[in-house]
């Protein structure tokens, strides 16, 4: 079986190569345990090893500690960014807002809230978090700037505030189920239309 790293990309040191299957199993076990509700700090190497069907040494051979392993594991969750069509600003915004806090991996939705304390505690993790969301923010910023340029949005629009208006309600709902009765499927449309047209009578 081809349970090992591809021989093409390295000079191949002697001895038995590391098992790709083990790599995969460790990462998956980590994400599974997190998704099942374990906090970052409650997560133990021993639990990961057991879950992955792997010896502890196999983990320590690859990562110096829990933090490094976690970083690698979380990188797997970074989903694909949706590509706005570029026709209607409203439709593009609905697409982007609907993607807030949503990733390919369904575990991501359960894991993300557990990382909030970490992001607040450690400047490194805060930076990592910012690096991850910045590309998504950039995408939305461009859609909004396009709207201003085309005259579809107010000329005096504060783009950064507008992004907060669009993103905040979705994030809050996804992370905290802030309001139990809001319908998650309809929310993106409602949010975009609400922010576009305002709530003031006219």
């Amino acid at each position: 079986m081809s349970d090992v790293t591809s021989p093409a990309d390295a000079p191949r040191s002697p001895g038995r190569p590391r098992s790709v299957r083990a790599d995969e199993a460790i990462i998956e076990a980590t994400l599974d345990l997190l998704a099942e509700g374990s906090t970052v700090e409650a997560l133990s190497i021993e639990a990961i090893a057991t879950r992955a069907g792997v010896g502890k040494a196999t983990i320590y051979r690859r990562w110096p500690g829990k933090d490094a392993l976690l970083l690698d594991a979380l990188r797997r969750l970074k989903g694909v960014q949706p590509q706005p069509a570029g026709h209607s600003v409203r439709d593009d915004l609905v697409l982007l807002v609907g993607a807030v806090g949503r990733n390919i991996d369904p575990r991501a939705a359960r894991i993300m809230p557990c990382l909030v304390p970490e992001v607040n505690r450690s400047p490194d993790h805060y930076q990592l978090y910012q690096n991850i969301i910045e590309p998504r923010r950039k995408l939305m910023r461009e859609v909004l700037q396009r709207g201003v340029r085309d005259g579809e949005l107010r000329a005096d629009l504060d783009v950064e505030v507008a992004m907060a208006l669009l993103t905040g309600p979705m994030l809050m709902q996804r992370m905290l189920r802030w309001h139990p009765e809001l319908d998650d499927r309809l929310l993106p449309e409602r949010v975009v239309d609400g922010v576009l047209d305002g709530i003031r009578a006219r």
Copy 2:
């Protein structure tokens, strides 16, 4: 010194009464440790006892375990709700939005994010969280309904969505510093005006 519970409210059982000072010290130590960055689960009874200058038994005499102690401690953080003046819907909203995630106790701002995972994990904690924010939500709901009644806001306004639009951006910014460059002091006004008037050109 009057270091003990007031004699007026109980039949007074015999023996030395429990020290109010100890109660206070334990709660304060708990909140301090949380505010300093300890996670809920990393918090240990031993650490609390040491910090409070109190024996472990003194804690176990009062609470059955960490969870019960935490619940009592967190109840202390519930700040006062601002009272909207009732003149202008906009001004009332700015007041309420500015109060989102803000409590009298400055430690609250640092503690709240640490509770996000708990709220997601335990239905009990989720319910507790909902009970705490519901009064605040009610206040905002009334202001919005008043606006609709007075014709200041759209007649077809979805009040729940509107609350999400107003609250979400503030919460996200307070809990995650989602956008590093947004000015926290000006944000409430910006959010309210943005949501009121919309971002669409007209």
